[in-house]
Symmetry: C2
């Protein structure tokens, strides 16, 4: 079966045999993907000229209605998506829920955001700026939707959420979404788009999808398009260096993998609530989606004095994680997405092992439950412990995109912040401490290197949303290594799809413009 592409308002089959999509547990081929021969330039232009004006003519409330209708169309097919997530991604039910329900939930959340934006079609900063003594002439900062398309290049680990967290914000902003999922898991993305198109709930051209190569998309972007990328730092570099993107100042948002950390405070002793919460969260982050989350904890910073106790507690917990075929009900952790990822992860573990001791798991000889190691893409949950974290390089720089984490003992708070900075910028960090003063100090101590920080104590044990979960009301992205981007964050995410323009005019004319715009802080 060759997956069709949806471009220029039509389902189009690509040329050639295509790339096989594989079940990572059984090795079975599920489908093939190719976009060869598809006229991408025409497809982008179709979205820009057909759907762009239609979306911009709608109010935020009307665009929000589109998102709600998309969410409803998807909810009706939820069980099928779980099945695809199992077959194409080796997802457990919990893994699939994060992706499928996370996507639908984000659409619903943005439908809710739209309600708060009244009947407006554009946005504005609060108030007017005085330009001189005379109040009759002032300035207002207006936000208008770009006259282009959102080019969304997504990662393999979230074929559902990765699409919708971008498309929801673009469509709400009045900008069509042109989606290029990672080929290896695009079965789910393509099926969801098909269901939405079949439901006929979006304006023509507002949503497109290509299955297979999309390398030339960057060559076709204009200065009014906005390219949002999630994936490896390597591919991100190619995208940023694209001569067309550079020449046209096309907006590019990068969300790249990073070596996220969790910091256990100096106050936490074995047996304390924060100690237990930390151990639980690190284990969960290592094993959910087999560690294939860009926000997952890769570095566990712990007070040197209790490093033994933390390592033992983590080891004990990891020993209980049953890894194997998710079709077996006892299984808690599935495979990586494919053999190529498995190979890269095992090589990464070997690199880390040069600087840290393997405490649990490792690169060799793992035997999954109910699966053939030769055909399947499993990696053992692997805990390492760094001897001298300050001297290490690979442990701060090599991200193993799998169920892998390194324990790093620290001697002082200052040393912990310095180790944090060695990651070169990350998406997410968490701090576990019962000490309120340390909570503030640590958050500020690592803030400049992070896009999000979760601060945990016993009081929020139940209410907290977890280290790795991206909540749509918070910005998602991080500086430096993490790509320097920003997505989501409620209304804030719409910034990427809008042009801010300072309008200087007579005050009554500003009032007229202001009447059609809704006040926001992005």
């Amino acid at each position: 079966m060759k997956l069709a592409n949806y471009v220029s308002g039509k389902w189009l089959e690509g040329k050639g045999e295509g790339v096989p999509l594989i079940d990572p547990v059984t090795g079975e081929e599920l489908a093939r993907a190719t976009s060869d021969g598809i006229d991408l330039a025409a497809g982008l232009d179709y979205a820009r000229t057909k759907a762009g004006p239609a979306l911009r003519a709608m109010t935020f409330a009307e665009r929000g209605g589109l998102l709600r209708a998309v969410a409803d169309a998807l909810t009706a097919k939820r069980d099928e998506y779980f099945d695809i997530a199992l077959r194409n991604s080796g997802n457990t039910k919990i893994d699939a829920a994060i992706d499928v329900d996370g996507g639908i939930g984000t659409l619903k959340y943005y439908a809710g955001v739209a309600k708060g934006l009244d009947g407006a079609r554009c946005l504005r900063d609060a108030g007017y700026e005085r330009l001189g003594k005379d109040e009759s002439f002032q300035a207002m900062h207006l936000w208008v939707p770009l006259h282009g398309v959102g080019i969304h290049i997504n990662a393999f680990n979230f074929p559902s959420w990765g699409m919708w967290e971008k498309a929801a914000v673009a469509i709400l902003s009045g900008v069509p979404a042109f989606v290029k999922p990672a080929t290896s898991t695009c079965l789910l993305t393509q099926r969801m788009v098909k269901d939405v198109i079949d439901a006929a709930v979006l304006p023509d051209g507002a949503l497109s999808v290509i299955c297979g190569g999309g390398r030339t998309l960057a060559d076709l972007a204009t200065g009014q398009d906005a390219v949002a990328f999630t994936g490896s730092a390597d591919t991100a570099r190619h995208l940023r260096a694209n001569p067309n993107i550079i020449a046209r100042s096309t907006r590019v948002n990068i969300e790249a993998d990073s070596l996220n950390l969790s910091l256990l405070g100096p106050d936490a002793s074995p047996g304390s609530a924060e100690f237990d919460l930390f151990v639980k969260e690190v284990t969960r982050e290592m094993t959910v989606k087999a560690g294939q989350k860009c926000t997952a904890i890769r570095r566990a910073l712990v007070p040197a004095a209790i490093a033994d106790a933390v390592t033992e507690a983590l080891s004990a917990r990891l020993a209980k994680v049953v890894t194997g075929n998710p079709r077996n009900e006892s299984v808690r952790m599935g495979p990586l997405v494919n053999k190529a990822q498995q190979k890269t992860a095992l090589e990464g573990i070997r690199q880390l092992a040069a600087e840290a001791d393997v405490v649990v798991g490792g690169a060799d000889g793992f035997k999954p439950v109910d699966a053939d190691p030769a055909a399947a893409a499993f990696v053992a949950p692997t805990l390492l412990r760094a001897k001298a974290p300050k001297e290490g390089r690979a442990i701060h720089e090599v991200e193993v995109f799998g169920p892998v984490c390194t324990v790093m003992p620290y001697a002082s708070a200052g040393e912990a912040y310095a180790l944090a900075a060695r990651g070169g910028g990350s998406l997410a960090a968490s701090v576990f401490t019962g000490d309120d003063a340390f909570a503030t100090e640590a958050a500020l101590g690592i803030a400049a290197m992070h896009g999000r920080i979760l601060v945990i104590d016993a009081k929020v044990a139940e209410a907290n949303t977890g280290h790795g979960i991206v909540m749509p009301m918070c910005v998602h992205g991080g500086p430096g290594r993490a790509g320097g981007g920003e997505e989501l964050g409620g209304k804030r995410g719409m910034r990427f799809y809008h042009q801010r323009v300072a309008v200087q005019a007579g005050t009554t004319r500003l009032d007229q413009l202001a009447a059609g715009a809704v006040e926001v802080a992005l």
Copy 2:
């Protein structure tokens, strides 16, 4: 005289003979500039590690005090700066005032912004984000200063304002400024830095300047630095494509030249107030600083029916502009900055002349007042008129950085907006109309392609701040061709030097963090 560089808290002389700085009226050599042999890596690190922590430890009010002190030190030497602007840039008094007083004014404005930020050291978005049903765990978006340096690469046309509009915002944000002015006019920049350093009003390392080449700065930037560039689209491309900048996701803000337009509304007839205001403003934009402003009007869009009348009125006004040596009191317009710029501008005029008729001036045979055409860098005020603006290419794409503008007749409002978009994104546009409904329609019709729009009618004839003047309370920058950047805009400018981080924590802990931050909308 070789200009010294101020780096690592020391005045250092570069190696070699250096590049000559020339009087563009007389051809006389004024000084030489070289940064060869200066250890830029050490200089950047000095700023990051010495001045960064010192600035971050200060409150906004304290940093505002620094800006005020810098402004005072400069005000004391104002007359000397006007003299340098005359000699190194060929500035008239009005030209010099825009640069010198504009720089000092921007510093004072940001000192005022600081007052409104209380005793805080960082910023935050308004309110908390609810993450679930339980209100005890929420999120706040905090803004913390980057732990790096602002690398400021400036253009030749504003050696004062160009430095201070960037440095003021960086220092207020808690980030040191490392300034690389354009070599050809760095005499003024270097003297101003010298006066500020002599006044000993800034923390050690908070302000550095290099005179001469700074190509390697991009190779030395980190993921916590922020590179702000003003200049040609060509150099901007090199900067953006720098492998180190790309690998580290270093922030880059580009403010590049663009083909800004002014639009005369369909309602304006000869003799109307808006007609006269339009003619006056286009002439002013062409001649102030000899048209060497990145915001200057390059394209004058006028109703086809009155294109003759507009062209005649502009021609009559331009005929009165005395161009020559600014030391002569009758002179209203000076030279371009140097022979190289003159050559490029004359070539540009020839390119435009292939698509448009030269009505006034032109590329050949101009004789300035009180100056030797062979030694000096003059270009005649040159007005062109496009025969078929829709068919033209060069008139929308070739920016002549001098006293040059092309009249473009339009047949309908829709055609005017389409012509506007042909510029591929601009810094500034202006709309002259007495029709309030058209004012709103036109502003929205061209908004996505612009960073700023000035809307003029008779009522704001006196109060308006002009098409080309950058006001510090409004954002400055534009999409696409204009670089896609954003500077200034009051507090908004600080965004570039801060990392936004979502902090998810117990509400009482958020309260504690919020107490040290001041609420803003950036």
